[in-house]
Subunit: 298 residues, 4 copies
């Protein structure tokens, strides 16, 4: 005999763009603000009937979830992604009795104003901002924010040696290598801060991104793991409302090309950027007094 | 103050192709067999020093992990991916004292022999076979196998109605719709079967895939959730060694095109295949006597 | 002073799926047929006003082009992609006086019936079928059909040596290597065959694909170029209505892994499948009596 | 009988990263410069033997081409991509007697210095810079430079109406729409400028990109075609050495969401960003005195 285990369903990748029009831009200028998002929602609760017999009585349609994303984008206007995700999640749980948990995640794409034009923008492209809110009827609300696809590179100040050598080890030790990675970072907010709900999401994002860049650049690194821990630490130390940071950092290997056969020296000048395979470092940094993670990462 | 939380590191996407040469193909023919894989390994254990101070003494290099994948591919020869993953994971934990847990995942791509040629193949492309083995010094070994990117479509025998209607619901009910999805399925093996280690991995894969296709085709569906549960159920019921199935099934919406403006009827003939957004149904089916999942899905 | 040069505009990637319902499948069975396409159209002609002053009087909207694709998919029903492309192109040029040239290209994705089910399919995935029709008011109609993403591999019967060695050459000669490529092939039909318009498109496609596979498998190859020419030649020789074949064949390098450091021999067993860089061979094979290409490849 | 038609072969996507070390950065600071490129070369000439009989005597190996890219990256150091492409193309034709034509194309990815750090960078991501040089023994050298993936958006100042209405037209006219596109632009240099070879490639790129952004932002648009022509015109008018611009501009449709069912007005605030299908506008702008294009775009 079989039974239904954990499940959720929803609408993924609702690509909604909001324009706030006629906003004061400073210096007397008036113009538009653009918010470009990819919103995904998923719901859980008393929906077993749907799986077992095809009874949809408790299943708020994914099409309705999509519509709700659009409607809330209108109602809330130009707000931070965490606000949108939070209001949506609360709405689904609050208005659909069978739904006891909602997960709303948002990816946000950056746009940069073209010169001083009020209505014109180009896509920024340096990273994607993310947030995931989980609203559970019993366990409350969690918020995890972050970014992905932030590609960084140090041309020096990275070593790698002292690792164990077994029968399959051929890697030479190095005291000067290039270090590059595409950072995916997620930071969990403290439950009490989420409950108080007066977090400055935009400022936190800017601070965390700045801390990440500064730490990557400023860490003399003996391993990518060390850099990872330093980044997570500074984010937590800089932003009191954050109690945990998870980082996934693929090591984008840059190998020195052997130019000897051509009678040329390669004094750390010419590298080959490899695609696959790649090292992949995944780690968590926690404040000593971090509360339990609960559902935050589910 | 901060501390290091859960972490792992490894080499991702080692693209290794193995050729078994001169194999009896039946009917007196002799030829080659090709195994095309993407192998990723990651290790955990007593490696905090690396994160905290850059001490790599306990860190088996990811380059070494890559070499080990190649060497084991040679040593083991033409085996099922579960075998390769299992041997690799056991090797890392067994030979590196500080390493207490290894995770090895394999994607395997299908090749079809060109006619009766001994040495020639074309890529199959209908799905990717997967497996993930976790070997933990304390908690033992888990195996989760599966597939992804298996795209299926029913042209009829799917309805969707009876769902709740709130202020944001506009979707019409339907008693005849196209149903399409790209299936990602993972099945967990029972701990005792993993321990006994006499599973016929290839046969199980073939059976599970066949059950998946037959169930998708044979289920008159009132919701994609219902189809998901039926698929998971039949896999568990067909293969006694499997105790849990997790499925992720994006609803690849096909919308009827409105041809009325052109004076044409659309009697379920012409559809628009949408990209985004899409419904996403994720669910678990468990045998009633399934043991605890432990680390299997981490 | 500047002027407008060659230009075209249209609607790209109309994802239209057609279901032919209740078709006799043989053996007394009745079921559905699925045609899954991605259609792109573009138009040229007397549309300079649009570029120069924003005058859209002659610009059939791309939205209308999309609608036309849907309507013709309904009207034509279950036909070959060349037929759809041809009728669409003729329609645009024939009904819009300012439009003197139309280009319609179709990608078609394969579906395989699940067992003997009348309504159920899984995506085939071994290649994409393509066609491009250009209908020019003055120069007539051209048809180029083909396929892409057909990945093939020979485990042996490939050598590469005798190439020149300059100061930058380090590659060793080899008398036994793996040869793999992802084939993109396009074949141009003779103008007179296109005009006569009684080509069996489906049969030609099947023949060309079979010739491609058989030639790849059957050619003992001293270079990928040689294989390319053999493939093009056989397609032309097999199908009299085809006068030209263009092939683009990236060399998907499989490098032998050096297992010596591990005390293991690698007798052409374990390979590393590289991503980038890759060799890229592009060539044309022509029937001796091929007519001028005209606009076919534009 | 069949014959070999036009052909070329080469090495695609050599991912080479160059670091210029210890460069004066201004203000007394010293640091590194990073150049991140993807280089593809292809050669043509007296290589028919390779296709017809597998005779590689005239075929400079693609592996050698790759090595040459690395070696020239070292020799030339921190130069503009046009310089690298040009020197490589000249080298292949100049040193390999059977090779009569070389095509070298470069994609260059932007990196931004992290604050004032001498050795640290993050990937810019707003567009990719491109160049293609063709060096033909008989016809000389051509240079086409450009960019791709520059995504731009105007929140207003775009109308679309006055287009013809046939039986398949349903699109409503609009006097205020969002206009977004991902620009791919290529500009051809005048033959005499290429020959004189004192072009300031970096400055031209900066100017062309600035002209593109300013024109997109500053054009009140009645069609994307009009915007395209305005962009091409300003680039030509701004940079005397450029005689032709080709632009490919997919219309990234943003559709107003209908919020009426929810009792909400949508006063150009909430949009749905569609993926497919999309309008695609491709056009050429030429200086009145542009010379013949020759091989530049092949």
């Amino acid at each position: 005999m079989v039974q239904l285990g954990p499940n959720r369903y929803g609408k993924a990748e609702v690509r909604v763009v909001h324009v706030a029009r006629g906003v004061a831009l400073g210096g007397g200028a008036v113009g538009d603000l653009v918010t470009d998002r990819n919103v995904s929602s998923s719901l859980s609760g008393d929906v077993a009937g749907c799986y077992l017999t095809g009874d949809n009585a408790n299943v708020l349609a994914t099409d309705t979830q999509k519509n709700t994303v659009y409607a809330f984008s209108k109602k809330l206007g130009h707000v931070e992604p965490e606000r949108l995700a939070r209001e949506l999640a609360a709405h689904f749980v609050g208005t659909q009795a069978p739904i006891t948990r909602a997960r709303v995640s948002v990816e946000q794409y950056g746009w940069t104003r073209i010169e001083d034009r009020p209505n014109s923008f180009h896509r920024t492209g340096d990273c994607v901002r993310t947030t995931t809110v989980i609203h559970d009827e019993t366990q409350g609300v969690s918020v995890v924010s972050g970014l992905r696809d932030l590609v960084v590179l140090n041309t020096t100040n990275s070593e790698f040696h002292g690792f164990p050598r077994d029968e399959f080890t051929t890697l030479a030790e190095t005291t000067d290598r290039m270090l590059a990675t595409s950072v995916e970072a997620s930071w969990r907010y403290r439950a009490e801060a989420v409950q108080a709900d007066d977090i400055d999401w935009a400022d936190d994002f800017a601070q965390a991104k700045a801390a990440l860049l500064a730490t990557f650049a400023g860490t003399y690194s003996y391993s990518l793991q060390q850099t990872l821990f330093a980044i997570g630490s500074l984010i937590i130390e800089s932003i009191p409302d954050i109690c945990e940071v998870r980082l996934s950092m693929p090591n984008r290997h840059h190998f020195l090309v052997d130019l000897d056969p051509f009678g040329l020296a390669n004094d750390n000048e010419v590298y080959y950027a490899a695609d696959r395979p790649y090292g992949l470092i995944e780690g968590t940094v926690l404040a000593d007094d971090a509360g339990p993670e609960g559902l935050a990462w589910t």
